[in-house]
Symmetry: C2
Subunit: 148 residues, 2 copies
DNA sequence: CCACAAGTTGAAGTGAACTTGAAGTCAAGG
DNA sequence: CCTTGACTTCAAGTTCACTTCAACTTGTGG
């Protein structure tokens, strides 16, 4: 394999991002990433695509669906390569979501001790089986954190 | 609808558990729950089945797959109706798993501030894209918590 | 006694996020 | 040049956890 120049093949992109080539093609079909084509019809990716993939992967870890990620990415400037501030702004929106997820799991853990820990595990009476609705928010903007 | 006697129809079970009848039948096909049949071939569930469903549902919230739940339930005594201690023992195994999930999200949140917060979001260098492998443990027993 | 709600079955459908396969084309080192 | 590995497309397959459907049969209040 020759020197890695300014553009990357799909294989190189895959290796560096840890995302399977099949997944990358799938993303490309969905419009999440894009590429230039060589005269022989092969994909060539610009390096900023790596960051985009990092964003996608991390967003997934936060629990976003590809559809939500698509929406988020649509908020990036289209006229220039996104800079740090752009990425930062986007990912800042995750924080409340993350916090909510953490809070929910913590509540579950705490209830586990008192409620399941005692073996009761009764529906209704027990908050364990009364799931606080999962945070489902669309678009950007703050996510509502509901109390207990 | 006549008085709720000692056995429950699938509809009653559904209403009390908040789980759709179709899901209950699906669970029954997978062997997660079972029922007696009336002369007319309708299902009748004993009340302890409610607790079993509560367990299943809660285990799902903790992130277990139905297959894992199947395994866990297999550890219950088959000769008698499980008591509080039985359920308690089973669900105690969730704690480490929950803790691990919480810890992972917290790490993600903290890294978010320093790493994505600054806009770097670089694969490899950034721990965000180096996901600590998700806890995947089989059967009971303590789950290893890996440090950062 | 009968209408109608609630129950039955097995097969097929759903949606998310990919993966796999077949049948080829392209690129680069020896 | 030529072999070999990387790449191409598009359709179909996979997994998980259900839901929906069609075509019945049961059970119950009035």
């Amino acid at each position: 394999m020759l020197a890695t120049m300014t553009e990357l093949t799909i294989g190189e992109l895959s290796e560096r991002s840890g995302i399977a080539t099949s997944a990358i093609r799938y993303y490309e079909n969905r419009g999440l990433v894009w590429s230039r084509r060589t005269p022989g019809n092969q994909r060539r990716y610009e390096r900023p695509m790596l960051r985009r993939l990092a964003f996608i992967r991390t967003a997934q870890r936060v629990g976003l669906s590809l559809e939500e990620i698509e929406e988020a990415l649509a908020a990036l400037p289209s006229n220039r390569t996104p800079n740090k501030a752009d990425w930062s702004r986007l990912s800042r929106g995750w924080r409340p979501r993350l916090e909510a997820q953490i809070a929910q799991l913590e509540r579950l853990r705490d209830t586990l001790d008192s409620c399941i820990g005692c073996g009761c595990l009764s529906l209704r009476r027990c908050s364990l089986s009364n799931p606080d609705d999962v945070v489902a928010e669309r678009g950007p903007g703050p996510v509502l954190l509901e109390g207990r």
